[in-house]
Symmetry: C2
Subunit: 379 residues, 2 copies
Amino acid sequence: MPRQLCIAVVGATGAVGVEILKVLEQRNFPLKSLRCFASSRSIGKKATCFGQEIAIEPLNEERLEGLDIAIFSAGRKVSLEWAPIFAKRGIIVVDNSSAFRMDPQVPLIIPEINAVAMAQHKGIIASPNCSTTIMLMALAPLHRAFGVKRVVAATYQAASGAGAQAMLELELETRAYLEARPFSRTVMPFPYAFNLFTHNSPLLENGYVEEEIKMVEETRKILADQSLRITATCVRVPILRAHSEALNIEFSQPVTKEEAYTVLQRAAGIKIFEDRSQNRFPMPIDASGRDAVFCGRIREDLSQPNTLDLWVVGDQLLKGAALNAVQIAEHLIKEGIIQLSVAPLVAEAIRRTNSGESISSLFTYPRQSAINAAVFEDH
Amino acid sequence: MPRQLCIAVVGATGAVGVEILKVLEQRNFPLKSLRCFASSRSIGKKATCFGQEIAIEPLNEERLEGLDIAIFSAGRKVSLEWAPIFAKRGIIVVDNSSAFRMDPQVPLIIPEINAVAMAQHKGIIASPNCSTTIMLMALAPLHRAFGVKRVVAATYQAASGAGAQAMLELELETRAYLEARPFSRTVMPFPYAFNLFTHNSPLLENGYVEEEIKMVEETRKILADQSLRITATCVRVPILRAHSEALNIEFSQPVTKEEAYTVLQRAAGIKIFEDRSQNRFPMPIDASGRDAVFCGRIREDLSQPNTLDLWVVGDQLLKGAALNAVQIAEHLIKEGIIQLSVAPLVAEAIRRTNSGESISSLFTYPRQSAINAAVFEDH
């Protein structure tokens, strides 16, 4: 019997927060209680999970009693301020923001790829950038099987990565365009209806935008390989919620497309999805609302030996954010590495002892099977 | 005084055909007469150019008298059948289709890049694939300056490449999506509203689509360099009329981004367009309706020496098709290599001789200046 946990979702009203609540419900997460935090703008609103309405609470140190895990998806600033406060109280933080991803003390986790790295956590575990996660679901198994030397990535990123308001703005602006009405943008920096632009993260001195550098640095950290060579061009396209990526991957040895398909067919969390007779490969609408990352169109690159092109599409809100965070929380349970809130545990142990019940179940968790570990680690 | 020419536009009612008529007018092309041909579906319609209505004619061998140049944009099948018939009559065909592009007898021309190759024409001159042209406007000057070894291209292609009906369908389908109405597609193979998919050209045995192979083979032909290594991923995105491309370019020597900017600033037909303080790089709406190909975001690739990333956007209907074809026709005049229709010329010479006028202007054309030739050839 898995222990049931007291979970907090911080940023519960955002695009990712709403998905976290849905994912907890769909996966029948062993919840004892669920608390929803958001900024003061959302106070008075209600969230919904497991058919119950949950009041939105403001972040406040006095409200953190009894929590086991907090999933943060309220942006970098909130995470920087609040995640350490939660962690100090023994609440494990699973952080969707970029705040701690490159902190050497913080594991950066995609459970299918590097769940083992979770064990070293010190109270905060980071969930990677969405484009990075979607790329790595295909890249990591191939890297483990064949050794990746260099990747050239081009992304086709959806509005959802910029939040629920950006998705709404894309719809409203497109409607205005079609009706030849003027439109005032408040979220995106440039016209988005039937238009595309360089990813709207800060431009760095070297000409890369932050999103692109995340794909480089987070990949190296997750795969624990600083020698990996990656360049990316990140582009915001007028799509609602799934990111697509064209990956050109050079390996350190010859790899046929059949070998790559075989590895990806066996990999966890990725789905080969194509019908070559119809020139039908993964599209954003295929992956939207789906847990799996969709992959296909593996080609042997005509321009260079030992190189494959492939195409990958994943729901930015799910595997790119909410799902991955919830999976991290699930693995904390499975791996038995969740730091228990000591006070409620002791109280429960005393209660059980007094009533003659066994207390052993309080201290054991089903451990991930060796087979599962092999799936994650051997590719 | 430039000679005025009798021009035919074949496929005058299509997306590109309509643009050809506009471009002829905007550039004040030295037209003596303009004839518009289209399929039987369009008979009865009128085209408009220089404020005049022009009846659409069916293709018919008896209607080809007196033409100097025919610009074909009616698809591969019409070109395969009719271009040789026009050419046999001494009418120079400028063909926008893929029918003759890889024919060794047919020059494949982007005037800013390889106008000299036009001289070898045997009656048919091909205008390249739109994605190829837009890429090469940036790539060719860089190749000539520094020597390109390998290109990894990812495209973001607009509806216009699939024709006027595809542009309309994208608008109609998007409107239906926003109004939650069902929609029956007739042009595109897959949902296009807020969606994207692999370029809808035939998928080849090697996993590339034809569009991608065009980018490889046409580039090698235009740059007259079979050693060039190119791979491409072509994607149809929900954009109306300008194609964008992310290019990762490996050179055979070190090239700084400043050197690349300097070369492209001097190159004909390309415009550096960016404001780094605003993370503002070329977008489809910038290039739509514009002659120049827009370029920017040149970065030194962090993953590999001697490599630059750059971003290029061009109007698919203009430089990608109509404009390039009209420029080819202009160069035929400038270079003095147009094959005259002998009968009308002789008739005119007789008329002038009889009326005491000089006939010398009938046989002379302004030659392209040496300075212009240098712009096209030296980069």
